[in-house]
Amino acid sequence: MNTLIELKHIKKDYVNGEIITPVLHDINLSIMEGEFVALMGPSGSGKSTLMHILGLLDTTTSGEYLFNGRDVAKLEKDALAIMRRNAVGFVFQAFHLLPKATVLENVMLPLVYKGVEGDERKKLAEAALTSVGLSDRMDHLPNQISGGQRQRVAIARALVNDPAVIFADEPTGNLDSVSSEQVMGILKDLNASGRTIVMVTHEPDIALHAKRVIRIKDGAVQSDTMSDSKPPLPPSTSSTPLS
């Protein structure tokens, strides 16, 4: 297994005028290919900032960030954008689907920026939607499908450019428990087929789906534990909440 992500002495301060608010101090972290990591911590702990840095959306104040062996800490905005389109997929709590575009068009969007041709684009998007079980909803608009289905569309969108890692920011935060289990099932299936997943959550029962849990508190890593390697249950049989 290769090391996909390596953080060395990462610091992040927010600067507002003369007030400097430190958010992350001296984070050291490695994530290997094929891991399923849950970042946990209370609000204000810095877990979201950490995920934004990991997801190449935010820059660091100091420290070294190696993504796939490449130092990305000092990259320009456009270079980061190009890395995001090629190597990263995002799943957000609020789905962030374009409301006036169909499900298929939403999933094709990352490929538009990647410069994939129209026919190929459609083929890849259809495959991604089929893999999340939504092949029959492609022409629907986001407001015509359920919340759980919307998040599955978002997962298909994160998946469609074949990224090295998928970042999921509270992916079940807006979902009921049944939909949550479905979404987690899909993420686990993706991980089982080799996809690296980094997920932010504050729900312990959701974090249990991950193989490794990193707890963040006051901008530092509080604990980093591997969960018991019990076999994951298929989503359809997990009828009771795990907590």
Binding site: H52, I82, R84, N86, V112
Partner: protein, 410 residues
């Protein structure tokens, strides 16, 4: 991101908000339509006048009372009338002109036992038709003896003849001009209008009779002549003769010292050109203001659109859109908006011009629909430029949004 995807995305976004897009671009539509319409009407009028001048011939000279200073303004009732029939004789005797004719023009009542109306009375002489050619429908025109002998005879315009006499033959009938009775000896063929004046309602009488018996004056309104050779030389010759006749000491040829003004159709053409240019400049500035206002409207709505779509922009950036891709998307939306607004404006402008031309051809003889191709090209370019100019700032704002903050925007 490929250009075709960019265009598709921008087009979709405008189409999804089509009623707002239409309202936004209305300022541009109206501005461009007005530009096309005004240019079309302006050029149509100018073309019509220039055509009429060309029909009339370009060798005519006009002498009016008043120095060149006053003559360039509107005709003033306070200008002293200094031209007389003696001046006409002097010009004929001493000058080398093809024809010299006198005109005394005034409005008064003209009537017979049944009808009475106010129209233009032209006191003219036997050279009138040589200078302003017109056909005689029935009867005859004045000859030298009518003018010399203060004859009370009249020639009617075609419309006046039918207004006074209907289908009846007017030759030999009586008409009263002011308080004097004239015998009709001829009717002119239909002439239409010239310089927006209806010529067919006029009555023509000998200038001598007009001076002595009708109006009680001893001047003429103007002297018209046709040059034999070079027009400028002929004008200079007329000035020289009249300065001598009016005892004006003006060897240096300062036109402001003269009590008369000599002009030609060419001067009129030039004046029309100057007026046309000034009018175009005025219309252009009005159009520029309306397009500026339209452009500010575009900027306003684009800013609203950027704010409304903050989350969308955040998402696009998160999945890998660069700043320049976001910039191009919003800039293209603005340009598409104004370009199609411009096209719509051109269509409406051309349509209205055609409609107005259709009406005017019935009212004004010889009116033609003119749509300058340069105006269409200019309108298309200007509307595109407005999109680029007023779309840039909102697009730049969209491009600079921070993806994390944009995704969090509520």
């Amino acid at each position: 991101m490929k250009l075709s995807d960019l265009a598709k995305s921008a087009g979709q976004s405008l189409f999804q908000n089509r009623s707002r897009s239409l309202l936004t671009v209305l300022g541009i539509v109206i501005g461009i339509a007005a530009v096309i319409l005004m240019l079309s009407i302006g050029q149509g009028a100018q073309g019509l006048i220039l055509n009429q001048i060309a029909d009339l011939g370009s060798d005519q000279i006009f002498v009016e009372s008043g120095s060149s200073d006053t003559a360039n303004g509107p005709p003033s009732p306070f200008t002293e009338q200094v031209l007389t029939l003696d001046d006409v004789d002097t010009l004929r005797r001493r000058g080398d002109f093809a024809f010299v004719g006198s005109q005394l023009i005034s409005q008064t009542t003209v009537g017979n036992s049944e009808e009475s109306l106010i129209t233009s009375v032209y006191g003219v002489d036997e050279y009138q038709l040589e200078i302003f050619p017109a056909d005689i429908a029935t009867g005859r025109y004045f000859d030298n003896s009518d003018v010399e002998g203060y004859s009370k005879v009249a020639v009617l315009g075609e419309k006046l003849a039918s207004e006074l006499f209907g289908d009846q033959d007017p030759i030999g009938e009586k008409v009263t001009v002011k308080n004097t009775t004239f015998r009709v000896i001829g009717v002119l063929a239909k002439q239409g209008s010239r310089f927006f004046q209806d010529l067919d309602g006029n009555i023509y009488i000998p200038v001598t009779t007009a001076q002595r018996d009708v109006f009680g004056v001893n001047y003429v309104s103007y002297i018209a002549a046709r040059a034999k050779g070079d027009l400028e030389e002929a004008k200079e010759e007329a000035r020289f003769i009249l300065r001598d006749a009016h005892k004006i000491d003006n060897p240096e040829g300062d036109l402001a010292k003269d009590d008369f003004n000599v002009s030609s159709q060419e001067d009129a053409v030039q004046t029309i050109g100057i007026v046309g240019t000034a009018l175009s400049a005025l219309l252009a500035s009005i159009a520029a203001i309306s397009l500026l206002v339209g452009g500010i409207g575009i900027m306003n709505i684009m800013l609203v659109s950027v704010t409304e779509r903050t989350k969308e922009i955040g998402l696009r950036k998160a999945i890998g859109a660069t700043e320049s891709e976001i910039l191009r998307q919003f800039l293209l939306e603005a340009v598409l908006l104004t370009f199609f607004g411009g096209l719509l404006g051109i269509m409406i402008g051309v349509g209205c011009s055609a409609l107005i031309a259709l009406v005017l051809t019935h009212v004004i003889d010889g009116w033609q629909l003119v749509i300058p191709p340069s105006a269409i090209l200019l309108s298309a370019c200007v509307s595109t430029a407005i999109g680029l100019t007023f779309g840039y700032y909102p697009a730049k704002r969209a491009a600079r949004l921070d993806p994390i903050e944009a995704l969090r925007y509520e």
